[in-house]
């Protein structure tokens, strides 16, 4: 599999994504369901493993803001590409809560969405297929002008 783009490049994925009903692997970096993480937060926080958490569509940025210094990665799961909540969550994590770790899009999203996602602070993309990942690589900068500010640049009017 080569479906992960991180910081603009195809990358090998070291992280294991743990679903709600599957056991947590014994070692290595893991992306946990929020409930699993919350259930034993102090133990996960104390462990020397790399810990990430994924949020489903109903879970909000505020649900992890007390753990941002412990988490290396937050994944936002897109239940359907038309569901845009993840865009706002990513911006809140970056701009309001100053999360500096990896924010990763997972689930059902389109290569054509990575530009906007990137502007909202998502920097890693687990595409649905390898082919889509290679398509997405070419779609990161369809626009050279940005009217509004994002996590990547100030608004055009601040620069004019």
């Amino acid at each position: 599999m080569q479906n992960l783009i991180k910081d603009g490049q195809l990358q090998h994925d070291d992280w294991a994504l743990v679903e709600e009903d599957t056991p947590v692997p014994a070692s290595g970096p893991v992306i946990l369901p929020l409930a699993v993480y919350r259930g034993q937060k102090s133990e996960w926080d104390a462990s020397d493993r790399n810990i990430g958490v994924w949020l489903n569509d109903e879970q909000m940025a505020e649900d992890v803001t007390d753990s941002l210094d412990k988490l290396a990665l937050i994944a936002l799961r897109f239940p359907k590409f038309a569901d845009g909540r993840g865009f706002s969550k990513a911006r809140l994590l970056r701009e309001r809560h100053a999360f500096a770790g990896e924010i990763r899009a997972i689930g059902d999203f389109l290569p054509d969405q990575v530009f906007y996602m990137g502007r909202c602070g998502i920097n890693a993309f687990a595409c649905r297929t390898d082919e889509e990942a290679s398509i997405a690589l070419a779609l990161f900068a369809p626009f050279s002008v940005r009217y509004q500010g994002g996590t990547d640049s100030a608004s055009l009017f601040e620069q004019r």
Binding site: G84, F87, S88, Q113, F115, Y116, M117, S155, F157, R160
Partner: protein
């Protein structure tokens, strides 16, 4: 009007390239139909009953003659030689081929036009008063604010996949609301505070469709420089909390209603507390840069031409009617704003052939400094005409079928495309409009009846705004047959309210007679100078109901 600089031009050019590549990938079978859908919708492309339909933005209704000439060319090159002006200051092509759409968009980009976000679940074209900038009673010109909103909303990375579509309208007249701002997701009213500073009163949660609701006052005064951060706060709240499980409950109006306006306001304000004075805050230099594009043209120093016009009306039968209905007062003495009617009987309301587009563009060049406006009543406006040239303009307009002197009357029907074009329709709407116009073809009578808004929609999506017509007609389906429900008393203006349904629905061929009976009740009961809507208000709908549903003796 706003002229693109190199940045703005780049945005539309790059958008064309992006959509060209997406279309190629789709035609190669590399994007599934349902995944191409949001991509094409955000470029205005619907797939309709007959063919794709392309909706092109006319931002807040402003159009140059050069742009209109280009639209005429494009309809001939890629469509059937006509287009349709809509109730939201857009224009639609009804028959383009999907493969041609990137070329059409490229042709538009050359004249600083686009179809960005004219459909889909994103922030749509911002609309305003068709007389913005030329009417006397304005607080301030709304157009710079509309342009600032246009730029802010264009390719906004956070709000391209909202629960549902999102429409913003701006009004700047304290005495009238020609933009129906209380029926938009966000309605903005320009106001001044005690110190004279400009700001906005903010309404949220208006809309028509299945659940017609009047927008609620969320803020009495928003200082102007905070406009964009406040919009960001509202949109973010909606993006995160609006319903996504049921598309009929997904508009922001449902969220406002569910939370209650006070709780809604609290949540917006607490979001805004983080954004206020942040990087999205408008700078004075940006406000000035955009406003520069809307300063008054070099008007001649004139006096009102009352004497001349009086003399001309005496010698030109019909001219006085046209002056009475199709002319709007201008803030500059000696000038007038003229509405070119697209409501000629026998033609679909809002339809315009390529020949008419060229004619209108030429009239704009000859009589109105090369500029036009598009109104939500689906007419064209020449906003800067010298009064001493009105007679010449009237004569030229007559030749092209633009001089129907019925603006604001029963015959100035607002109508959606309905069953002739639209796959969602329950019933046809254009033939109903035509039948009503034919029933009321006596100009003296229409004149005497005065201002009446009549709106027709082919289904409850309400594209023809039937809820807010003084008389509203809605196509409904009864066991596979087309029927029409009639409502009375809707109002799109400052007294925003939804009309009341008269009773059981009618067959198509009964509708003109029903409207006729409604009008008779008005004529029989009105007091001197009382408008139709005021009579409906005073009497309630009972007398109308009685007359319409009375059994023949």
């Amino acid at each position: 009007m706003y002229l693109y600089d190199s940045f703005d031009q780049k945005v539309v050019d790059e958008r064309v390239a992006q959509f060209r590549e997406q279309t190629e990938r789709y035609l190669d079978g590399k994007i599934a139909d349902d995944e191409f859908l949001p991509l094409r919708l955000q470029n205005g492309l619907y797939i309709q009953r007959h063919a794709p339909m392309l909706r092109i933005a006319i931002p807040y209704g402003l159009l140059s003659s050069r742009q209109l000439y280009r639209l005429a060319d494009l309809t001939e090159q890629y469509d059937k030689g006509y287009a349709h002006f809509t109730t939201r200051q857009n224009v639609q092509f009804n028959w383009p081929a999907l493969e041609d759409v990137p070329d059409i968009l490229a042709g538009l980009a050359e004249v600083q036009m686009h179809a960005i976000q004219t459909s889909g679940n994103c922030i749509r074209n911002t609309t305003t008063d068709q007389f913005a900038g030329v009417v006397q009673d304005e607080i301030d010109d709304p157009r710079p604010w509309c342009e600032l909103i246009r730029q802010w909303s264009t390719l906004h990375p956070e709000f391209a996949f909202l629960p549902r579509k999102f429409k913003i309208a701006v009004n700047a007249s304290p005495d009238a609301d020609r933009a129906a701002v209380r029926f938009h997701d966000i309605g903005l009213e320009l106001v001044r505070d005690d110190s004279g500073a400009i700001g906005f009163r903010v309404f949220v949660g208006g809309g028509l469709g299945r659940t017609p609701l009047v927008g609620q006052n969320v803020r009495d005064f928003l200082p102007a420089k905070h406009l964009l951060t406040y919009l960001d706060a509202i949109l973010r709240m909606y993006n995160l909390n609006g319903r996504r499980d049921n598309k009929f409950k997904a508009r922001i109006k449902i969220l406002v209603k569910a939370l209650g306006v006070d709780a809604f306001r609290d949540r917006v304000e607490s979001e805004w507390a983080h954004l206020k004075d942040g990087p999205g805050t408008l700078t004075q230099s940006e406000i000035e840069r955009v406003s520069q594009h809307f300063i008054d043209p070099d008007y001649a120093d004139l006096n009102d031409a009352d004497a001349l016009l009086k003399e001309q009306t005496a010698n030109n039968p019909g001219f006085d009617r046209w002056l009475a209905r199709n002319i709007t007062r201008h803030k500059k003495p000696g000038y007038a704003a003229v509405t070119l009617s697209l409501k000629k009987v026998g033609y679909a309301p809002g339809d315009c052939t390529s020949g008419q587009m060229r004619a209108a563009a030429q009239l704009a060049d000859s009589f109105s400094l090369g500029g036009l406006r598009v109104s939500h009543e689906q007419n064209l406006i020449l906003a800067d005409v010298r009064q001493d040239q009105l007679l010449d303009l009237w004569q030229a307009a007559k030749q092209h079928g633009f001089a129907t002197p019925t603006i604001g009357t029963l015959s100035d029907v607002i109508c959606c495309p309905g069953g002739d074009y639209c796959a969602l329709a329950n019933a046809k709407s254009i033939p109903i409009a035509e039948a009503i116009q034919a029933q009321f073809d006596d100009l003296d009578y229409l004149f005497d009846l005065g201002d009446i808004d009549l709106n027709i929609s082919g289904c409850m999506n309400a594209c023809g705004h039937h809820h807010i017509g003084n008389i509203g007609i809605l196509g409904v389906d009864k066991k596979g047959e087309e029927f029409y429900q009639v409502s009375l008393g809707g109002d799109s203006g400052l007294n925003a309210r939804v009309g009341k349904i008269l009773g059981p629905s009618f067959k198509a061929d009964e509708v003109p007679a029903v409207v006729d009976k409604v009008i008779q009740v008005y004529v029989d009961n009105r007091t001197p100078d009382e408008t139709f809507i005021d009579t409906v208000d005073r009497l309630g709908i009972e007398p109308f109901k009685e007359r319409v549903y009375a059994k023949p003796h």
